[in-house]
């Protein structure tokens, strides 16, 4: 039997413990992630999403409970580098993640630090840039790229270390719609084609429309964990009330209240258009 890629057990994290400023950020979380999953983690500001993300590659260590990556305990200092190679993190601001003056040098930074031979590094950089569709930009200066392109270079830099899992913490927040779509498309391809496990953290439900499973967080706890469509449909019930339904889910609910027969779990614009047309009796293949 395969073991889970990531296993989080009763994870608790307190900032400034034993001081008057102590804040419980994570309050007993348990879940596991299987290899190849595309998991979305959603929660409002202050729900603990980012604190959780930082536990997944040992940037933070549990106050109590345990995080295992491929069986390695994050508290085991000797395993830290292997854990960080396996779980790559992408953050919100692409400008803070690029280190070199040429795209391919930036992507080579990780594998160079792994001490790989130059020929292998070149091969990996080529592969990683191709995987994110940035091969044509290899000799460009990163700071002259668009936001979406920068984030793709940052992803390539992680891919070049051949991680098992990518964790993206609000990685689309600072991008314009085109950049956001670019990054989401890249993730979807990496997941489907290359089997890379994706954990996409966001407070925008719309960002998670490619995820298969969604975990919703509130005040340091998991409040919902299930198939994406089911969680989207219940977005307004998520405790804390900070999320709200994606616009198409809300519109579908209104139209249902108005008497249109629309199926549950519709959250993409295309799917809603099909459902409305079917409910209106326009399409011959509409009757189920």
């Amino acid at each position: 039997m395969r073991e889970p890629l990531i296993e989080v057990t009763d994870l608790r994290y307190v900032y400034h413990p034993d001081t008057p400023q102590a804040v419980v950020a994570l309050d007993g979380l348990s879940f596991s992630v299987e290899p190849g999953e595309y998991l979305g983690i959603v929660g409002g500001n202050g729900s603990g999403k980012s604190t959780l993300a930082k536990h997944l590659n040992a940037l933070l260590l549990p106050t109590a409970g345990c995080v295992r990556v491929g069986g390695l305990d994050t508290r085991d200092r000797a395993a830290t580098w292997e854990i960080r190679r396996r779980v790559g993190m992408i953050f919100q601001n692409p400008d803070n993640q690029l280190v070199a003056t040429v795209v391919e040098e930036d992507v080579a930074f990780g594998p160079e630090n792994l001490g790989l031979p130059p020929a292998v590094i070149r091969e990996r950089v080529g592969e990683a840039l191709a995987a994110v569709g940035m091969t044509g930009f290899r000799r460009r200066a990163p700071h002259l790229l668009s936001g979406g392109q920068k984030q793709r270079v940052a992803i390539a830099g992680i891919l070049a270390m051949r991680p098992a899992c990518l964790v993206l913490d609000e990685a689309t927040t600072m991008l314009d719609p085109a950049g956001r779509a670019e990054v989401l498309e890249t993730l979807s391809v990496l997941n489907r084609r290359d089997g890379v496990t994706i954990m996409l953290i966001s407070h925008a439900m719309e960002d998670l429309s490619d995820a298969e499973r969604i975990i919703a967080m509130d005040r340091g706890r998991i409040v919902l964990d299930g198939p994406a469509a089911a969680i989207m449909a219940r977005a307004e019930e998520i405790p804390g009330g900070r999320l709200g339904a994606p616009p198409m889910v809300k519109l579908a609910r209104w139209l249902r209240e108005d008497g249109l027969r629309l199926p549950e779990g519709v959250h993409k614009v295309e799917a809603l258009a099909d459902a409305v047309v079917a409910a209106a009796g326009l399409s011959p293949q509409s009757d189920v």
Partner: protein
Amino acid sequence: MKPSRTRWWPPRAFRPRAMSDPLIACRGLCHTYLRGTPMEAVALDGVTLEIRPGEIVAIIGPTGSGKSTLIQHFNGLLRPTAGEIRISGEDLWAPRADRRRARQQIGLVFQFPEYQLFEETVRKDVAFGPKNLGLPAETIAARVDEALRAVGLDPGRFGDRSPFTLSGGEMRRVALAGVLAMRPGALVLDEPTAGLDPRGKEELLERIAALHRKGMTLVLVTHSMDEAALLASRIVVMHAGRVMLDGSPHEVFAIEDDLRRIGLALPQAARLIRLLRERGMQVADAMTIAEARQAILAAVREMGSGAH
């Protein structure tokens, strides 16, 4: 003393001398960064634009289209390399121009303004600007309370807290209050909702709409077509340092192909309507999901009455 509730924006001192004067007017505005160096980059390439008192205008455009450069000209933070910028009719870069006054008149709220909070308490942070104006303590206190209420933060509850203990959305509203406490005639906001969760976004957008109802002139730079459609009565589309389009949301979203070409998307409601038409449904325009609901219901009823 109870402050007057009637029309405190724009404050009398900063009202345009004649209402026919645009509050902000640029003519042929150009800006080139690092001019004369190999890194030279043209950010604005002849922008002509007027913002009138009481308007709420969204400026949209892809990254690098010049939006942020443009709004930094609105209060004299950047000097045009060519062209002119006038605030309430006054040329900002004329030899004896009062740029200090213009800066007070146009309140600029940068992206992620909460990074600029620094004081120990919310009240002190909001008071920072008015204090630098040399106002008497009582006036400052009144302005701080007024500004905090305007952003939906109860001064009694939040005033003495450290800004760093607040949620992201609350911190951003404190930063906004700091600008409002200067009593600007217009607010220019760069990506005001970026990084906020849906509830934080909704709260901030409600506050922005409320400021507008009180008569505040608003310019909103945003990537979000949905926000532009929801709030603005006029949308300016920037591309490659120029104004590509300037019109009502309906006019702007009608040219979907052009928007898509420059990397912008329609609001989701408008996309849905387009897809419904492609699928043979005759349905009216909609910019927001509330409008889409009405349009779809009307279309379905129409079809029903035709069928029977």
